[in-house]
């Protein structure tokens, strides 16, 4: 709507500001009426005018000022006329004054309502422009597609073009299901497919350069417009999928390392357990030989046989040693690593562990001085073992939390701590938990902590356990800091 502009259109901003003052309306009223009286005096030369020249004075006042100033203008005009112009009778004067008041007030009211309309329209157009801008920004930064009632593309944002791998001009008018397999807008209308915010279905767009997994949030327009029926917001899930895949890969790799580690740990533990009785037996046999020597020639033959038996025991020891060497984890040696990056790799694996049970795994690491020497996959295995143990201990408890902390504790040690708010470890079990084949879990082999300790020790540290401030157990170990990496 075009609003006729009154005086204000020509008014400079300074004048507008002046007019906003309360008293300025009255000044305008006085000036306008005075000017009109002068004008009428000039017009006296050509003819007789009574109220007519004063009408513009009131209208000008009404155009720029409020009701009170206008009332003053009307009052002044009437007073001036009563004083300056002699009328035949008081009735004539009164009727003219009343008529003047009615006419000018009517015009003034029109003025005011026009002003109010103009102001409102200004606000509305401003708001509209703002919305338009917001919409454009959203469309420019989001892949959005608008479909008509038949499921044909009516609009698509530049991002949507890139994501779908189509040019805008060839896509417009095409049915959307030609681009996305199995997509049918009718399914959303009938409720067979969930609308925005409730769906986790993954759609696929087959592009010549590969497949893109998509999440599509569908919103149906509340009024039934033919051309803009549904608004589709697309999300590219490629990155999320890649991250998932990486997490799964790492998980598989860790599983393999775990199997090798536990086999090695079994061998080591078996070797240790068998070596004890073999040592005792060989030593006892040696003692018998010494005793038999005292029997002289009589014992010689028996002593020789005992010597052979002793040899067989030592041979068994050799077999065990070889088996252990074969299964011992092949350390590729420690390399320069960043502790935060090694832990960050496990984020995906942690989210697999977090699962739907409300478990939260928080990581808080000192990122500035995190240069360490470590064997990446083995370190990750050790950390994962501790986290998984904590998760097992937290099963079925309220508000389960695991916190992984990393900080520098001395010039050459970076400490990793895994704390939980589970039941903790009873004091009487503290001595035995690290021993292989010791387990408190129904399905466990009792190798987790033992394997973890072996890994920690191969990093030159020792695995410690204490009470956590969170209420559960706190396992900690140190990695050797890599000072060289830090200085480069």
């Amino acid at each position: 709507m075009r609003i006729p502009s009154f005086a204000s259109a020509a008014l400079t901003p300074t004048l507008q500001a002046l007019l906003r003052r309360r008293w300025s309306g009255f000044v305008v009223a006085v000036l306008a009426v005075s000017a009109a009286v002068l004008l009428r005096a000039g017009l006296e030369l050509v003819g007789q005018f009574y109220y007519l020249p004063l009408v513009p004075a009131v209208v000008v006042t009404a155009a720029v000022a409020d009701r009170r100033a206008t009332a003053v203008a009307v009052g002044l005009a009437i007073t001036a006329n009563l004083l300056l112009v002699q009328r035949d009778s008081a009735v004539d004067a009164a009727v003219n004054a009343a008529l003047f008041t009615a006419v000018t007030w009517l015009i003034a009211e029109l003025c005011w309502s026009l002003r109010a309309y103009r102001q409102r329209a200004g606000e509305l157009s401003h708001r509209l422009a703002h919305r338009e801008e917001m919409l454009e920004t959203i469309l420019a930064s989001t892949p959005v597609v608008v479909l008509d009632r038949l499921g044909r593309i009516r609009f698509l944002s530049p991002f949507a073009c890139t994501l779908l791998g189509v040019a805008e001009e060839e896509a417009i008018g095409q049915p959307f299901d030609a681009l996305i397999d199995d997509f049918d807008i009718a399914d959303f209308e009938t409720g067979r497919e969930a609308l925005a915010g409730e769906t986790d279905r993954i759609w696929t767009r087959r592009r010549p350069d590969g497949t893109v997994p998509l999440s599509i949030q569908v919103g149906l327009m509340p009024h039934n417009y033919a051309h803009t029926h549904a608004v589709l917001c697309l999300t590219d899930l490629t990155q999320a999928h890649l991250a998932d895949e990486r997490a799964r890969d790492l998980y598989t790799q860790l599983g393999r390392v775990w199997r090798l580690n536990s086999l090695g740990e079994m061998a080591a533990s078996l070797a240790h357990e068998l070596n004890q009785p073999l040592t005792a037996a060989a030593t006892y046999l040696e003692t018998s030989q010494i005793d038999l020597e005292k029997a002289g020639v009589m014992g010689e033959s028996a002593s020789r046989t005992i010597g052979l038996a002793k040899g067989q025991l030592l041979r068994a020891g050799g077999v065990i040693r070889r088996m252990r060497e074969l299964l011992a984890h092949e350390s590729r040696g420690l390399a320069a690593e960043r502790a935060t990056s090694m832990v960050a790799d496990l984020k995906g694996v942690f989210s697999l562990i977090e699962g739907p049970g409300g478990l939260r795994i928080e990581v808080s690491m000192d990122e500035d001085d995190d240069a360490v020497r470590a064997e990446r996959i083995q370190f990750q295995q050790a950390l994962l073992n501790l986290v998984r143990n904590a998760a097992d201990a937290l099963a079925g408890r309220a508000g389960p939390r695991i916190v992984i902390l990393g900080r520098v504790v001395s010039d050459d040690q970076y400490e990793i701590r895994v704390e939980d708010n589970g039941p903790g470890i009873p004091a009487e079990e503290l001595d035995t938990i690290f021993r292989p084949l010791m387990t408190t879990k129904a399905g466990g082999m009792g190798l987790g902590l033992s394997v973890t300790r072996t890994i920690v020790e191969s990093h030159g540290g020792s695995l410690k356990v204490e009470q956590s401030e969170l209420g559960g157990a706190a396992f900690s170990f140190a990695l050797p800091r890599d000072r060289e990496l830090e200085h480069t």
């Binding site: 070797a271 070596n275 004890q276 040592t279 060989a282 003692t287 030592l314 068994a316 020891g317």
Partner: protein, 212 residues
């Protein structure tokens, strides 16, 4: 062979029993302890002994036993480590800590016996040295302050004339002091005196050293 003892520390009852049996059969005094803590709580009072310890034990481990023994007894209590978990880094760490041997279980018992006997021979030498040092120190303590000064000068290889000059006495007086020193130190020749002087120096510092 003198009467050194062997102390066996192992958490495996059968291993320590077998070792004690073997050592006793060989006529060596032996005693077993089931843990490092038990050993240090009942630390035997012997001037010298050989200790055989396991590495992986609950509570105090072998490394800790070695560390505390070296700290408490020095070389007079040599340590032999036996382990069912042979690991190169651990072996290096133990040898650095001052153990005389590191033997992987199961072992040829004879080998352990050889090492024990070797440690005994070493201990004998050590004790003999100590005894001689003690005798030398005792003799040195008999010297007067002036005689000690002359003794130091002699051991330093100075001639009578130089000594007389150093101490501002006549060469004749030096002759007399020298004869007295030789007599009190029970040394027939100058080289014997020097040997006794070195022995004394390896033992405790003699009282006379503080004289003027």
């Amino acid at each position: 062979m003198s009467d050194h003892s062997v102390f066996v520390i192992d958490d495996d009852e059968d291993v320590r029993d077998a070792l004690v049996c073997l050592l006793r059969a060989l006529g060596i005094r032996a005693r077993a302890f089931s843990s490092g803590t038990q050993f240090f709580d009942n630390l035997p009072e012997a001037p010298s002994a050989c200790v055989i310890t396991d590495v992986h034990m609950p509570g105090m481990d072998g490394a800790e036993v070695v560390r505390r023994l070296v700290e408490l007894k020095g070389h007079a209590w040599p340590v032999i480590v036996i382990t069912g978990h042979a690991e190169v880094p651990l072996a290096v760490q133990m040898m650095k800590a001052g153990v005389i041997d590191y033997i992987e279980k199961p072992f040829e018992p004879n080998r352990l016996v050889e090492v024990v006997r070797g440690s005994f021979a070493h201990l004998d030498d050590l004790l003999l040295d100590r005894a001689e040092a003690e005798i030398a120190a005792r003799r040195l303590a008999r010297l007067t302050a002036r005689e000690y000064e002359v003794f130091l000068a002699l051991v330093d290889g100075r001639t009578n004339k130089q000594i007389a000059n150093d101490l501002q006495i006549s060469p004749r007086t030096v002759e007399i002091f020298r004869a007295k020193v030789m007599e009190k130190m029970e040394a027939g020749t100058l080289s014997a005196l020097i040997r006794i002087g070195l022995k004394a120096a390896s033992g405790k510092p003699p009282k006379a050293a503080t004289g003027t």
